[in-house]
């Protein structure tokens, strides 16, 4: 599964994307964030405020309870500031 990061989340994690193999039990966007945050200290810090992390599964905006089984791309990013 490909994970995309944007804006300050990308900067704090020092990567724009990565391929991951999910461990068992990671079923939702929320589970994914928990697992990503657990991998190292920089990630723990980057994901610290869960409410600031928005997500899209296969280019559709979803909330943290959305399932990720079968998804090709999950994007994680801060609140949007376009316009």
């Amino acid at each position: 599964m490909k994970i995309l990061y944007f804006a300050w989340l990308r900067e704090r994690l020092n990567r724009g994307e990565e391929e991951v193999s999910l461990p068992p039990g990671v079923a939702t966007v929320g589970d994914l964030i928990d697992w990503l945050a657990s991998r190292d200290e920089a990630a723990e810090l980057a994901f610290a405020k869960r409410s600031l992390i928005k997500a899209a599964v296969d280019a559709k905006l979803v909330n943290h309870s959305a399932p990720i089984a079968g998804a090709s791309v999950v994007a994680l990013f801060p609140p949007m500031t376009g316009g």
């Binding site: 804006a7 280019a59 609140p79 949007m80 316009g83």
Partner: protein, 148 residues
């Protein structure tokens, strides 16, 4: 109905004219143009917009469809740039066409309000004191909430 997301510059007036030309027979057109702002007390030398284009297209297409249905628009277009822009450069343009001015105004405001919070762009300002990410504004959530 159209959505365009691109790093290329666009010409606000030429876009308005093309939009008007396609809408012969309608009475009221509204164009909103957002440009890179530079305040004397907080000068900006550059604004960099990051974008997730696949999601941007999906979100903007959904927002345009929602505005079109809700306000009975005859046409609606959103153009959004990303990449690095200088002061005064156009960032975003929203255009609506309707038989009546009220729907054209409301449709354009609706598009801007949703776009601010729901389209995957992230702004980074560069000024004399460095570069920082623009924070999402609570007032933008409030502006969107009035349509719900």
């Amino acid at each position: 109905m159209g959505v365009r997301v691109s790093t290329g510059a666009f010409d606000p007036g030429a876009e308005t004219n093309a939009f008007l030309a396609a809408g012969n027979g309608a009475g009221a057109a509204v164009t909103f143009t957002g440009v890179v702002r530079s305040k004397p007390d907080a000068p900006i030398t550059a604004l960099t917009l990051e974008c997730y284009p696949d999601l941007a297209i999906n979100q903007l297409t959904a927002i345009v469809a929602a505005a079109t249905e809700r306000f009975g628009l005859l046409a609606a277009t959103v153009i959004h740039r990303y990449g690095t822009l200088g002061p005064g450069e156009p960032i975003v343009q929203v255009m609506t066409l309707s038989p009546h001015r009220d729907a054209a105004f409301k449709g354009a405001e609706f598009l801007m309000d949703y776009l601010k919070t729901d389209a995957p762009f992230w702004k980074q300002e560069t000024g004399p004191t460095g570069t920082h990410w623009v924070e999402a504004k609570a007032e933008d959530d409030v502006a969107k909430a009035r349509w719900e």
